[in-house]
């Protein structure tokens, strides 16, 4: 696709949805990988989590490329979400006095109507989360553990400390519930945006999307809660 055609596609009502869907599904895959990585905390090897963190850091330039890709996906997804929201405001300057969904087969839910709100909260959370962990105390601050004769960052200690405080221990799960709400509509919607649905497939994708959203949130929120309730010694 040459430049002008790509621009035509990207700014069209279809292109905007396709890119929202592609970036959204990409970010969902990232979240799934992140969640799976987190679960290494529960491994029988007490250093499994720190080793995993160290392995990621050792990727070097590759890690930067992945991070730049992730940032690009997040930024574009958020940009499209906001522009769709603003477009909808413009398309209906005056709201109905009374509005009621007609019910099934409508997929209109609290989740589908609050994508902009849950999305913006998730974005704010993401910034705080990166500042707390990625750019939180590291080797130079004494968060060190020796594994196989090598001194690596003790991320596990940082997690134990953070999630021993009620703000983190309950704030994180609360945001993860919002993530599930966002993905309840988001996952199925992405497939519909990509045109990858038909009347037979849609109910399956809708149900599967909901299940993935819930499992993802549970996978994330067990960690802070178990650390808090076991006093950081899990």
């Amino acid at each position: 696709m040459e430049g002008s055609k790509l621009k035509h596609f990207a700014t069209s009502p279809i292109g905007r949805k396709v890119f929202t869907g592609v970036t959204g599904l990409g970010l969902t895959l990232f979240a799934l990988a992140h969640m799976a990585g987190n679960l290494l905390y529960f491994s029988s090897d007490p250093n499994a989590y720190n080793k995993y963190g160290h392995k990621l850091a050792e990727l070097g330039i590759l890690l930067y490329i992945i991070e730049i890709g992730l940032v690009a996906f997040f930024v574009y997804h958020i940009f499209l979400g906001i522009s769709i929201y603003l477009g909808k405001r413009k398309a209906r300057p005056q709201n109905y006095e009374k509005y009621a969904s007609a019910g099934k087969p409508s997929r209109q839910t609290l989740a589908s109507r609050s994508m902009i709100i849950t999305g913006l909260i998730l974005f704010a959370f993401l910034i705080l989360h990166i500042l707390s962990f990625k750019y939180g105390p590291s080797v130079s601050d004494g968060y060190v553990v020796t594994v196989d004769g090598e001194e690596i960052r003790d991320l596990k200690r940082l997690m134990d400390e953070k999630f021993s405080t009620p703000l983190y221990a309950f704030g994180y799960p609360a945001v993860m519930i919002l993530l599930a709400v966002h993905l309840r509509h988001g996952i199925w919607s992405a497939f519909q945006s990509l045109g990858a649905t038909n009347p037979r497939l849609s109910p399956i994708i809708y149900t599967a999307g909901g299940i993935v959203a819930i499992l993802l949130a549970i996978g994330f929120l067990v960690l802070p809660l178990s650390i808090y309730f076991s006093g950081g010694a899990a």
Binding site: K88, Y96, P105, R107, S189, Q192
Partner: protein, 249 residues
């Protein structure tokens, strides 16, 4: 029975508009919703007031021109039913019915409950047709089309362009209307020649008219008097992507 009607009044496109409350004391359970408005208008005329403007044509649930938002739902509470086929027997004595026009900047109010749907005509004009020399009527089945395709194409072709999909959509998107026509013609050999050009031109015109983007709420399918599936929208997207990636437009 007594029915309270809270109805939108707007003198013209530039008027800000307001709600008015009226009471119809001699409503009959067998009356259709439009007949209720007729009785109310006779009352208003008797009082020397201007009657409420509303669109209607067939009053048989076919044409869809009567579409208004009734108690927050396009065409009222009954699915696959146009406003004119809603009857007072579905209400109880003393109920209040809130009546509003379609609300979308692309379908502006002309007066009271009447909206300007010419945006739909312009989307159709952009490509919702086939340019073929028809000649005489061909022999039946001279052009073989698989039954599944015919059935699906027919389902999409049942769109009457009433605008309920736009009215009910939280984003005021016209994706179901546009998608239905694109999906219909994409399934038939007659639509093949202009397939690529059609989807790009119609989607561009839809955007041009100022309809919002679709957020896949699927509310449109629930209010469509013909029950057209949002698979039409999925098909429109596939057609558009195909046209942009491999097409020659």
């Amino acid at each position: 029975m007594t029915i309270n009607v809270r109805v939108w009044r707007q003198d013209g496109p530039e008027d800000r508009g307001r709600f008015e409350n009226h009471v119809v004391t001699d409503a009959n359970p067998h009356m259709s919703f439009l007949e209720l408005l007729d009785v109310m208008n006779e009352q208003l005329i008797g009082e020397g007031k201007e009657p409420i403007e509303f669109d209607h044509d067939c009053r048989e649930g076919i044409c869809g021109s009567c579409g208004v938002v009734i108690n927050g739902t396009a065409h009222g509470p009954k699915q696959r039913t146009a406003s004119c086929q809603l009857h007072m027997r579905d209400y109880s004595d003393g109920d209040t019915i809130v009546v509003e026009p379609w609300r979308a900047s692309a379908l502006p109010v002309i007066k009271d409950l009447v909206v300007d749907r010419t945006a739909f005509d312009r989307i159709m004009g952009a490509g919702g047709y086939v340019s073929v020399a028809t000649g005489g009527a061909p022999d039946a089945n001279a052009l073989p089309v698989p039954k599944e395709d015919v059935d699906a194409a027919f389902d999409y072709a049942t769109c009457i362009g009433c605008g309920a999909c736009v009215a009910a959509c939280p984003n005021s998107s016209a994706s179901l209307f546009t998608g239905a026509k694109i999906a219909h013609l994409s399934l038939l050999p007659q639509g093949e020649a202009e397939r690529t050009r059609r989807v790009v031109a119609m989607v561009d015109q839809m955007a041009e008219e100022g309809f919002g983007d679709c957020s896949n709420h699927a509310e449109c399918e629930a209010v469509c008097p013909k029950g057209i599936s949002i698979s039409a929208i999925a098909r429109m997207r596939r057609e558009y992507v195909k046209a942009m990636v491999v097409g020659d437009s």
